[in-house]
C-alpha cells in the first residue's frame, strides 16, 4: 500500500491517453503565458495610452512614434490584446478538451482495470471487502481519482508557471522587496498545513457519521416491510434524525476548519500588499530607487503569487482528500486472487468426486468443515442432509473451487481440483444455489449463460426438465420475457426452476443442487428430480436439501453434523444407523 505501488498500479491506466495527458499541460503553459501577458497589455493601454506616462509596461516593444500617436497606439495594443485573448481562448478550449479526454480516459481505464481485477477475485477475496464496498471503490472512488487526475494535469502546471513568472518579474523589479514572498510562502504554507491536518481528522470523523447515516437509510429501505408492519415509522425517523443531527455537528466541526482557507489567503495577500506599499513607498519617497509604476506592478505580482500558492494548496488539499480513494483503489489492485487455475490442460474425465481429509475455515473463523472423507462415484446421486449452516454448502463450494480447502484435498475425475484450469473445472461442474441470481435481460439471454450456442430446442428441453417451460409459455412474451435486474419479474420458485434449466444447459459432469428447490412446491420438486434421474443418468448429482423427500431415494445420503460427516448410507441403512437422520425423518414423517 505504499505510494510506490499506487503509482505503479495507476500509471498504466494513462495508456492510450498519453498524448492528451501531455498536451494538456503544454497547452496550459501557453494559455497561462498569454494570461499573464494580457494584464501587461492592459497596463500598457492605461499607462502608456491614457495616462500618457513616460514609463510603462512593455514600452521597449513599441516604437517611439507609435507611442506618440495615442489613438493608433491604443488601437494597436487593443488589437494585440484581442489576438492574445483569442489565442488564449483557443488554447484554453483545446486544453479543456484534451484534459477531459485524458482524465475520462484515465478513469475509464482504471474502472476497467479494477473490474477485471475483481472478476479474478475468489469468494474469499470478495468476502474480505464485502460487495457494497467493492462497488463503492469501482464507482465513487474512481470518480474521485479521475477528478484528481484532471486537476493534476490542469492545475499543477498552471499555478507554478504563474508563480514562477510572477516571481521572476518581481525579482527583476526589486530583489529586496521580493524577499517578502520568501516569508509569505511559509506562513501561508504553515497555515494550510495546520488546517489540512486538523481538517483531515475531523473529516474522517464526519465520514464515519456519514456512513452511519447511510447505513440507517439502507437498513430502513431493506426492512421497509418490517418498519411498516410494526408501525415503526416514527421510531425510524427518530433514529435517522439523531444520526442526521450528529452528522450536522460533525460536519460543522470539520468544515469550520476550512472556513479559514479563504480568509487566510486574503490575509496573506493583503498583508503582503500593505508591507509592500509601506516599504516600497518609503523607497519611492526617500531613497528614490523605485518607480511608482514598478511598485504598482509589484503589487500585481504579489497578488498573482499568493493566488497561485492558494491554488496549489487547494489542489493539494483536494489531493489529500482523495488520498483515501487512491488507497482504497490500490488496495484492490494489490490484492492477489487467492484462487488461480492449474497450469495443466487436463480435461475432467468423469464426474467422480473425492474428499480426502478435507478441513475448511473461513477467514479468521472457526472451522466449518472438519476432516471430511467422502467418495462419490461418477453418475451417482448423492443427497446431503444437515441442519442449517452446518457446512453442507461449504462442502460443495469446494468442488468448483469457489473456495479452496484449508487442509486435505478435493479430487474431481481422479485429479486434484487445483490441477485443472478454472475454466475446465467450472465448465464441468454446474451448481444451483438456494439464493440464485438471474440477470437483467430476457429469459433466453439468461438461459444462454449455460450454453451460448444452445438452440431453441435445447433450451426448451432443459426448461421442460426443470418444469419451467409451462410457466414461461404462460407469459405473454414467453422466452423473450424481460427479467429485470435480479430477476424481479418472476417469483422465487420460478426463479429457482430457471436457474436449474440454466445449469442443465451446461451439460455438466457434476450437477450440484444446493437447496435449490426450496421455493418450489413438493410435487414439482419430485417431477424435477424424476426428470434428472431419467435424462441425466451419467451426471453425478449432489442434492442438498432440508426435505427428506428430496433425498430419500438417492444412491447415497450423507448426514452432516457440526461440520463433520456423521453417517453415510442409503435411506434404509440410515434409518437404522443414524439417530440424526431418523430424527429429521420423523420430524417430517408426521406430514404424511
Amino acid at each position: 500500500m505504499s505510494k510506490n505501488t499506487t503509482f505503479k498500479n495507476l500509471a498504466p491506466c494513462v495508456k492510450g491517453y498519453i498524448m492528451p495527458s501531455v498536451l494538456t499541460p503544454i497547452l496550459i503553459i501557453f494559455e497561462v503565458l498569454l494570461e499573464v501577458f494580457i494584464p501587461l497589455l492592459m497596463a500598457a493601454i492605461v499607462d502608456g495610452g491614457l495616462y500618457g506616462e513616460e514609463d510603462f509596461m512593455l514600452k521597449q516593444f513599441f516604437s517611439a512614434e507609435l507611442i506618440a500617436n495615442k489613438p493608433r497606439f491604443i488601437l494597436t495594443v487593443g488589437m494585440i490584446m484581442v489576438c492574445a485573448a483569442l489565442f488564449s481562448l483557443m488554447f484554453g478550449v483545446i486544453a479543456g478538451r484534451t484534459a477531459a479526454i485524458a482524465s475520462m480516459g484515465f478513469g475509464s481505464n482504471l474502472r476497467k482495470k479494477l473490474f477485471y481485477k475483481v472478476q479474478d477475485f475468489s469468494f474469499a477475496n470478495v468476502d474480505k471487502y464485502s460487495t457494497p464496498s467493492l462497488v463503492t471503490r469501482l464507482t465513487t472512488d474512481v470518480s474521485n481519482v479521475q477528478n484528481t487526475y484532471q486537476m493534476l494535469i490542469r492545475g499543477f502546471v498552471r499555478s507554478p508557471i504563474m508563480m514562477i513568472f510572477a516571481a521572476v518579474m518581481a525579482l527583476k523589479i526589486n530583489v529586496q522587496l521580493s524577499l517578502i514572498f520568501i516569508f509569505a510562502i511559509p506562513v501561508l504554507g504553515f497555515a494550510l498545513f495546520v488546517m489540512i491536518s486538523l481538517g483531515r481528522k475531523r473529516f474522517s470523523v464526519m465520514l464515519t457519521k456519514y456512513d452511519k447515516l447511510n447505513a440507517s437509510v439502507q437498513e430502513d429501505l431493506v426492512a421497509v416491510r418490517e418498519v411498516k408492519t410494526y408501525v415503526r415509522e416514527d421510531y425510524e425517523k427518530e433514529k435517522f434524525d439523531a444520526a442526521a443531527e450528529d452528522l450536522k455537528k460533525a460536519q460543522f466541526r470539520a468544515e469550520k476548519v476550512f472556513v479559514w482557507s479563504n480568509p487566510i489567503q486574503l490575509l496573506v495577500m493583503w498583508t503582503c500588499t500593505i508591507i509592500l506599499l509601506f516599504m516600497g513607498g518609503n523607497r519611492v519617497i526617500f531613497q528614490e530607487n523605485l518607480g511608482t509604476g514598478e511598485l504598482v506592478s509589484l503589487l500585481t505580482y504579489s497578488t498573482q503569487i499568493v493566488n497561485s500558492l492558494a491554488m496549489m494548496s487547494f489542489i493539494f488539499a483536494a489531493w489529500s482528500r482523495s488520498r483515501a480513494s487512491f488507497g482504497r483503489i490500490n488496495e484492490v489492485l494489490c490484492e492477489t486472487p487467492d484462487i488461480v487455475g492449474g497450469e495443466s490442460d487436463a480435461k475432467v474425465e468423469n464426474g467422480s468426486i473425492e474428499f480426502k481429509n478435507v478441513s475448511f475455515a473461513y477467514r479468521n473463523a472457526e472451522r466449518t468443515l472438519n476432516d471430511i472423507n467422502l467418495k462419490i462415484n461418477s453418475g451417482e446421486t448423492v443427497g446431503i442432509v444437515a441442519g442449517t449452516g452446518e457446512g453442507k454448502s461449504t462442502l460443495v463450494q469446494l468442488i468448483p473451487r469457489f473456495y479452496d480447502c484449508t487442509e486435505g484435498e478435493v479430487l474431481v475425475g481422479g485429479r486434484n481440483v487445483k490441477d485443472y484450469s478454472l475454466y475446465e473445472l467450472r465448465e464441468s461442474v454446474s451448481m444451483v444455489m438456494q439464493k440464485n441470481v438471474l440477470f437483467s435481460g430476457s429469459i433466453y439471454e439468461n438461459l444462454k449463460w449455460g450454453d451460448p450456442d444452445a438452440t431453441n430446442e435445447e433450451i426448451e428441453r432443459a426448461c421442460k426438465l426443470s418444469c419451467a417451460h409451462d410457466f414461461i409459455m404462460s407469459f405473454p412474451k414467453g422466452y423473450e420475457t424481460d427479467l429485470g435486474q435480479g430477476g424481479v419479474n418472476v417469483s422465487g420458485g420460478q426463479k429457482q426452476r430457471l436457474c436449474i434449466a440454466r445449469a442443465l444447459l451446461k451439460n455438466p459432469k457434476i450437477l450440484i443442487l444446493d437447496d435449490s428447490t426450496s421455493a418450489v412446491d413438493t410435487a414439482t420438486d419430485a417431477k424435477i428430480r424424476k426428470a434428472l434421474r431419467e435424462y441425466l443418468p451419467g451426471t453425478t448429482k449432489i442434492i442438498i436439501s432440508q426435505r427428506i423427500s428430496s433425498v430419500y431415494d438417492c444412491d447415497k445420503i450423507v448426514v452432516m453434523d457440526k461440520g463433520e460427516i456423521s453417517a453415510v448410507g442409503n435411506h434404509q441403512e440410515l434409518m437404522r444407523s443414524s439417530e440424526i437422520y431418523r430424527e429429521v425423518c420423523e420430524s417430517q414423517a408426521k406430514e404424511g
Binding site: 493601454i45 483569442l86 488564449s88 484534459a99 480516459g105 437509510v217 416514527d234 410457466f471 420430524s587
Partner: protein, 626 residues
Amino acid sequence: MRGPQGAIAAKMGDQKSKNPLKTFIRLLSYYKECRWQLIIALIFILIYSAGVLAASFLLKPLVEVLKQTGITPDEKYAKYIALLIAMAAIYALSFVANYTLNRLMLGCSVKILCKLRIEMFNHMQSLPLSYFDKHPHGELMSYYTNDIDAIREMLHRSITQLIISVVSFVGIIIFMLVLSPSLFLIVLVMGVAVYFIAKIIGIRSSKNYALQQKALSKVNGYIEEMMAGQNIVKAFNHEEQVREKFDEMNEDLQTAATRANIYTNVMGPIMNNLSHIFYAITTTVGVIAAMNGAVLIAFLQYIRQFAERISQISEQYNFILMALAGAERVFELIDEAPEVDDGTVTLVRAKYAADGSILETEENTEKWAWKNVTPLGVEYIPLKGDVRFFNVNFSYVPDKQVLNDISLYAKEGQKIAFVGSTGAGKTTITNLINRFYDVEEGVITYDGIDIKKIKKSDLRRSLGMVLQETHLFSGTVMDNIRYGRLDATDEECVAAAKIANADYFISHLPEGYNTQLIADGSNLSQGQRQLISIARAAVSDPPVLILDEATSSIDTRTEKLIEKGMDGLMEGRTVFVIAHRLSTVRNSNAIMVLEGGRIIERGDHEDLLRQKGKYYSLYTGMTELT
C-alpha cells in the same frame, strides 16, 4: 415487486433539468430556516464587497500621492502613511467580514442539509409500500449520497460566492451607469453575449451531464448486478462475456463523461478571454469617441472587476448545475404523494365497566378496543381479530389480475392457511390485510369494520407478521426483539425469545442478548434470524398474526423444536399461514388452495383430503415421497 423496470427507464429518459430556476428558488427558500444568520451574513457580504472595492480604489490616491510634486518627502510620507493605514483598516475589516460571512453561511448550509435529509427521510417513511417496490434501493440510496453531496458542494462553496458576485455585480453596474451611460451600452452587449454563450454551453453541458449520469447509473447498476451474481458468473465461466459487456458500457460512460466535461472545462477560458476582448474594445471605442481619460480609466477598472465576477461565477457553474439536478430529484421524492391514511377508527386501551360496556382508559389493561367516532356518538368495538374478505379483486398492474373474487373468513382465534404454487397470490392476500396495497373491488373487514375505515397505523399495530425474508436492524439482539414493542421490558423480550425457542442460541452468542448485530444480522444464520423475527412478533402480541413462509428457512429439525413455541405464539390468535410445507398447515381450521388468484379448494385437512383435488394430490405426493 412486479414490473418496476419500465418506470425506471421512463424516468431516466427525461432526467434533464425541467425547470432549474424553479428548483433553484425552492432550494433558496430553505434559507428561511436561518434567515437571521443569512441577513447578518448579507450585511457582512456587503461590507466585504464594499471593502474590497474601496481598497482597490484607494490604490489610485496612494499612487497619486507618490507622484505628487511640490511637497516635502516628509509631508508626502505622512499623507501616504495615513492612506496606507486607512487601507490596512479596510483590509482588516474585510478580513473579519469575510471570515464571519463564511462561517455564518456554513452554519446555514449545514443546517439546510440536515433539514433536507430529515425532510426527505421523514417523507419517505410516509410513502406507500408500492413506492419502494417500484424504486430499486440503489436509486433511493443515491438521493441520500450523490444528490445530497452535490447540493452540499453548492451550498458550501457556490452560494456564498454567488451572492458576493451578485452583490458586487449590482454595485459595479451602478458605478458604471453613473460614470458613463454610453460606455455601459458596451457592457450591456457584453452581458448579453455572456448570457447567450452561457446558455448555449449550459444547455449542451446539462444535456451531456444527464447522459453521463444515465451512463454512470447503468455502469453502477451493472457492477452491482455482477458483483451480487459473482458466484454465477464464476460457475458459468462467464467472465469473458461479462467483461465485454462492461467494456461496452464503460465506453459509453467515457464518451458521455468526456463530452459533459469538455463543456464545463471550456466555460472558464471562454468567459475569461471574452472579458479581455471587451476590455480592448471598450478602450478603443472610448479613445475613438474621445472620452474623458479619467472616466475611461475608471470605467476600465470596473470592467476588470465585472469580468472577474463573471469568471468566478462560471467557476461555480458546474457545481450549481449538478446541485440543481440533485435538488430536483430530492424535491421529487419530497413531493411524492404520501400513503393516504383517512381511516378514523382508532385502537385504544380498553377497560370493561361493571355493566359490560367498554371504557377508554390510559392504563395498561392489556385489553384493546376499536374506537369509532360517528355523528351518532362514540362506539367501542372490542378488539378480537376477526378478519373477513368479501369478493376481493386485486391487481398490481392494470390488466394482470392477481386476486379474483376472494371471499373468506377467519374468526377470532382461527388458523387459516393458504396453499398454492408460487405466484398464486398468497402473499398478495396478506399485503391487502395490512393495507400495503388497497383492494380494488370488494371489502375486507376487521372485527366487522371495513379496514379502509381503520387508521393504518392502528390496523398494522393489531397485526403481527413474520416474513420469509427476515431483516434485522443494527443494534443488539435485545433491541431487535424489542422492535416488536418498544416498551417491552427485558424480561418480556426474553420470554418472547423463549416462546420462539430462540433463547437457547441467543444465550450461546458471545454476549448473549447484548450481542451486536451487524449489517442485517449477517453474523447470524438465516434460521437464527428467522427465530429472532418470530420472537419479535411474539413480543408485539397482536391479535392477528400473519406467517408468510415464516419457517421456510428453518430446517425441519429446528422447526420441530420451535413448533411448540409457534403453537404458543399462535394460541388465542387469528393466524394466517402461508406455507409450502403442508405439515405447517395441517392443523389449520381452514385451508385455502389458491391457483391463479382464485380459491379453488377450501376446507380443513380432512375435508380437502376427501375432496381428492389439488390439495389431495399435493399431499399424497408428499406421503408417497416420505
